[in-house]
Symmetry: D3
Subunit: 332 residues, 6 copies
């Protein structure tokens, strides 16, 4: 890799594409350094930063734990009877982090995404956190390569992430506010789904009101139904913006489903609801990027339930994306 | 604290009311010793007793674990868009336990509740166990200050808790029977919701029949619906008794949702069902007291899922109580 | 025990039938060596083999962990208001395993089941694994005592278990294929319920197509409903075969409900769905045998949630079996 | 078993004496109910009481965990090249506990020991706790059958266990004081070995001074050497008393060696030192009884290090006892 | 607290001085805000920073876990027969940390120590980390109030902590180098004790040579003996510097003794060796400050062995300090 | 890799030699497939087999866990002030295992070692288990390439591993007996160091006597001293055999030092003793091969203490080997 500014290092695994009938995900997703190809449909970037987390977090260990779980997953998706191996996915590696200068680490992520987006403008960008502060950096990076385009956000989250950076800087509680205040996005182009319970302080509600951030509480989602809700949100967004970024804070899940997300809470979403949402989201042509953040594999249980759940969510989204977009394009 | 008989000690935390926009629960619930106020709407009492548990239990550690979790919760309830900080809640502290005389410990709890109820007759009383044997003691204490009043019980539980005390004394399997046999309550004023599976022996069923304890099995609850069931039960109880006591044995939850309740079982309630029940219950004016029992934080998982789930249940109930009762009263 | 060929050893517990009103399951299920009876309605056999598991597994420890959990369960089933203590259940013990000759261990299981089925032809046979490779052995054993009878399989599983034995022999990924290729069963008499996600490679789908194995994906089950689906499957099977074998790979459960099943996955069944299925299945007269496999108690959480969930599933099935079959027969 | 007063129940395992060359401890120690023999040289009694523990304890689960570990130990002691299988050891079972009347549980233990000592006056008595409060009960039981005899105590412990029972009754902090104040023993006949650090309050030192309890701190033991210290203590005791009782509170071990003893501390004994002490103690003819207390298997690590360490200590003592006493007697 | 610049917050516990015969450490060490006193002999400051750690660390949680363990320790030290309750110790609280500006957090620690040292010039300063980067900050803070004085360091550590800050800034691998390069101390006034094995890269050895940092490897310490080694080091230091700072990186311990220190290693010191060293160190009049760093209570085992070991080390040092210095001074 | 018969696969990590001053072990040990070199001084082979273990074991996961720990170790050995990076070490990868044919897996290991030894006759061979049954296979493989040479064994172990294969085949309890009975080695050329306690049945002692296997119990080792004992053993062996194989069953360690070795026991060796032994052993020119077996990383504690301890042992041996042999040879 020879990027202008952002240091990136390859994943520490010896994965490579191995062609055989029963491919595992690890045999499918190609480390970028092992290939000369350029026409990737999906590019994957690890952002192993969690020093910026308000409470202690080992989410920096997630990108590699995520990759390691690929041994356990097949490329065949039995729910839809499709094999996603034809989707061309490259694993760019992990952005290098600075150990004590958190803002520089954010800058590295921003630069890395700028480079990646510059190099693969048509590929879907997937970022693997790290904590939620990485989302602000990746979106700034994307904005740099398409300054004229409007970016909208679909946020699956228990929290609004609208804290001010005044007191504590760009923590994992602030990404949406950073982006709005930095005029990278507009508040009215943010749809937060999954809010519930006692986890958002009044100042955040006020900020959401001020910025016109849309909030669809978990109970509203359940009342209206996943399919309808997601279609409504995305069809509105599609009209208003040029590029939709999906950010999945895994703390949106109920704590029974996400023991490895320190900020996960009782009262949250079931994992099957999350999968249904992402399957629905994957149908939308406007989605240009997605991230998964805040999973701390050092807290997960013995069977790594939360790591695997994130991989399942990621693959469900890709399966839908492949089925509804790539195959359709190919059909043309 | 200078109670007549019952020794109480303050919680070991340095919490205090801190006024700022984004209050945590720990900044809201006031340790009684830090305040001169008397007009509390809710008073909280820890009953750290689990020597009386049939199987090994560390539920004695729960009251403080519960308080410690307050750091993680806001006073703002996004589901209803209300902030419960105006609700006046005092934390009385923990009843002091005797190390080897379990009956004296029960007596301490009874005395403490008598004192608290005497001092704050109009406040909602919340007891944090401890194992389920504490419920018999708290209700006896309440009865002492209102001997003429009829007390009814809404019990959320996997078990009937109707064991005889003949062989093993007042264990956590006996509270309802103790109260009926002690003529503190009548069996027909008890509604047990949540029964399922293979956890209640025939002798308990017989006792329930003899005492006319009402049983609404989990599957019946699901068939009829939470709202309807709770409204039906409470409207009947409201006609028959003067004071409704809600006892929440957290083993009513499915073991996937309550790894920190040693007696929790497969086949139990989901936590969202429990929250919905408590929200519905909170609307009822007749509720005078509630307890949460049988959570053993020493068995909980790394993210303290069960402790947090109990706090969420407690806050959901308070939010409903505040919204439907306190604010209504204030509105008058 | 003096079987012809298969070495069996009694369970290491001092359980025995103890008659009293409030029987625990451990006081009910009789170790065979403690009784002279022959008219058992249910016989139970442990198959503690997991060396044959593809990934590391301690499922060999499950049969005894399962028995140990019997202390926690009553014989009274409150959902239906019945006591199953009259059902005559004998615990035969555990098949002895060879430490390094896995095929000989499979042969032991096959022989043991042949002996048991020969001795108790009318009893329901329950096998407690071990990993899923034991299913091939038990069904071969059954087939030996009824060579003329057609056996059908209802398989609850996340996987098809149709791997070829060519490369790695009779692992836990192969039992259904072993049986079809060995002409013990026909592929079209196999109904797999529970498939979902990214866990079955294309070669397995192909094999399923070739062998005409029926697949009802979890999402289809949910669409159609449990009662309807099971009734439809079983009524078809009842017409086509003489004997229905139910095999429950506990990895069919979602990983949130089965932390102690290393192969359990996100996106799986909830435990209440499994219980409902087994209750429905228990109504069917054609069921002659059932097994529960792939639970690794060394990975389970502190409260042994997965072990208990399996016991609950087993008891739910027996309760239905007793209610709909044994009592009916007795009524005649 | 048909004891006058004390209820005892057999261990829940199906152990029995199995004669073969390579005996495990579980094949050697005979459950009393399986044998008609009376000439036992060692009798073993479980005292599963830990409700009396000051802090939360699951030591009540230890007697059975201890027995379960017997599968892992051979009867052959390679350090001395001896096989202890000829030692005649009977496992009496566990004293039945009352669930809420701790004093009655103590009485049960006392009665059980009285019965056992009455029935097997010449056998070495081994008690498996439970917490340290059981020691007071067992010694009172012993005293009843030999009221005229003086009993001395060798106590291996991090604590003096001289708390007053005034405030909290007979907890695990009080056994030595109970016995002195009850005039069952004299303080000057107690030797405590293992004291260190910051775990004994001044009032206990004062009590030790008043009662003339001897204290050999761990650092003194190390300076003088184990062999010399033990020989000195035991030769003095042998002159002063008729019967020596050894009580091993496993919290005497350093916390690195005893993760499963909640009260174990940094700065304690290494396990090899404990084994050497017990080997030395086993040589002394005056030893009439021994106990092992305060091990909580629910806190132990995954490999049950502390349970196994206690079994090793128990076997080391028995090996020395057999080698130096039984074989010597037999040689006469 | 009203310091000029450094924000400090009190510990979250409700501790206070409670006078009774059997004082616990929590009843002894006084939260500064609860007292008007100024003549403290020891002041304690928490520095909950671990974002600066090279690998993931929850050492930020240690100061409060350390305080919580005070419930388990008495003020009486039985090894020497002294009670340290007369030693006047104040707990200042925890320095407030910034969530994303690590350098500002370091500045807060530096400022806080400057304030504390300015206010209590004669008190022994104890810092509770946090990771090892806090040592550089506290020593800079001390230097500010005594710019003319020479500070020497006794470092107990598996690592040299001489990494350059060029690449990654002031991580926990750099404190000694920071101080030397910042001319706060001289390399030749640093004595590192405890080095062993494969944990220090050649560049660090080179730096140690260049800066003339003294290294006493663990095997050398064992050969020469603890008493002799410490006396030699301290007597040399006493001649060369005006103020000795002791920094205890708990990773100096063998990993068997420090499961809660992520950087602890095999081949390290036993905890009893550490206690002996600190007892010896406590005799030296020149010691002006000490810290304990790198303990991560979120990784510790169930009995919190590592947290307790650190408390034991701290108390052993204080006991010696009290016995050899304070009492001596008082005797004058 | 293109070996005649034995399938080998490279390690799943992306390690490679990276030249810089501060090399980690992962940057030093070269995956064979990344290099054309042939003059390796040390070759490393993973043997991930533990289906052959008598009790449940995840030792098959160790070779990769071992490699993963290389990130935590430097090539510089501070005890001796040497850097071992000049030692030429190749990581061959892991022998491929069959899932159900254990004997075939043993054959694969044997063949792989035959190939490796044929290709690198002068290199030190290091095998990473797997369970102890792999030792028989590797030694048979070595014997094939040097049929005329006598092989002696230095065995560090709590067990004799002399079980007969009659009943259960080549389990991890049999390797030494397999080799003697297969006339690959002679019993009198085996020295077992580390025996203690109650873990070897009389039949094994008898076998050891019959085969003249030498036994140096742990207590004898401690009496005579490590240096003297090892020198005596090796000098005798050097006279009698042509090739010394060192086999390190990590269960030789005390259970406090090896929580991740299921068969580790109380009463075992401290890890510093093991390191001293291996350092001494590394001086001996006759050592041609070494293995480390029976570590189960799935049982290890959170900080992977046992995995790291094995890596430390391996590096200590290599450091001594390099210092005393390779450098000496180079000096010639």
């Amino acid at each position: 890799m020879d990027y202008k500014k952002a240091p990136i290092e390859p994943a520490p695994f010896n994965w490579q594409r191995i062609e055989h009938q029963d491919m595992k995900v690890k045999d499918w997703i190609v480390p970028q350094w092992r290939s000369e190809k350029k026409d990737w449909e999906v590019v994957l970037l690890g952002a192993p930063l969690s020093r910026s987390s308000i409470s202690v977090s080992g989410a920096s260990e997630f990108p590699n734990a995520f990759r390691q779980s690929w041994e356990k997953f097949s490329t065949y998706y039995i729910d839809e009877g499709i094999d996603i191996r034809e989707l061309k996915v490259a694993d760019i590696g992990n952005v290098k982090m600075h150990f004590t200068d958190i803002l520089r680490s954010h800058q590295h992520i921003e630069d890395a995404m700028e480079n990646v987006a510059g190099e693969y403008p048509n590929a879907l960008k997937v970022t693997i956190g790290g904590d939620h502060s990485v989302t602000a950096a990746t979106i700034r990076g994307l904005k740099k390569v398409m300054p004229e385009k409007k970016i909208g956000i679909l946020q699956l989250d228990t929290h609004l992430d609208l804290r001010s950076t005044d007191e504590h800087g760009p923590t994992n509680g602030t990404p949406i506010r950073q982006l709005i205040e930095g005029r990278v996005i507009e508040g009215k182009h943010v749809y937060n789904i999954g809010l519930h319970g006692f986890y958002n302080a009044p100042s955040l509600i006020e900020a959401a009101n001020d910025y016109e951030v849309h909030r669809i509480r978990l109970k509203e989602l359940r009342q209206k139904g996943i399919e309808q809700t997601i279609q409504d949100v995305l069809s509105v967004l599609m009209e208003q913006v040029d590029f939709i970024y999906v950010t999945v804070d895994m703390d949106v899940l109920d704590i029974a489903y996400a023991p490895g997300v320190p900020a996960s809470t009782p009262g949250g979403m079931r994992s099957d609801e999350l999968f249904d949402i992402l399957y629905e989201v994957g149908k939308c042509e406007g989605i240009g990027a997605i991230d998964f953040v805040c999973i701390d594999p050092t807290k997960d249980n013995l069977v790594q339930a939360t790591v695997k759940t994130t991989t399942y969510a990621f693959l469900t989204f890709l399966a839908s994306f492949y089925q509804h977009q790539v195959k359709k394009r190919e059909a043309l």
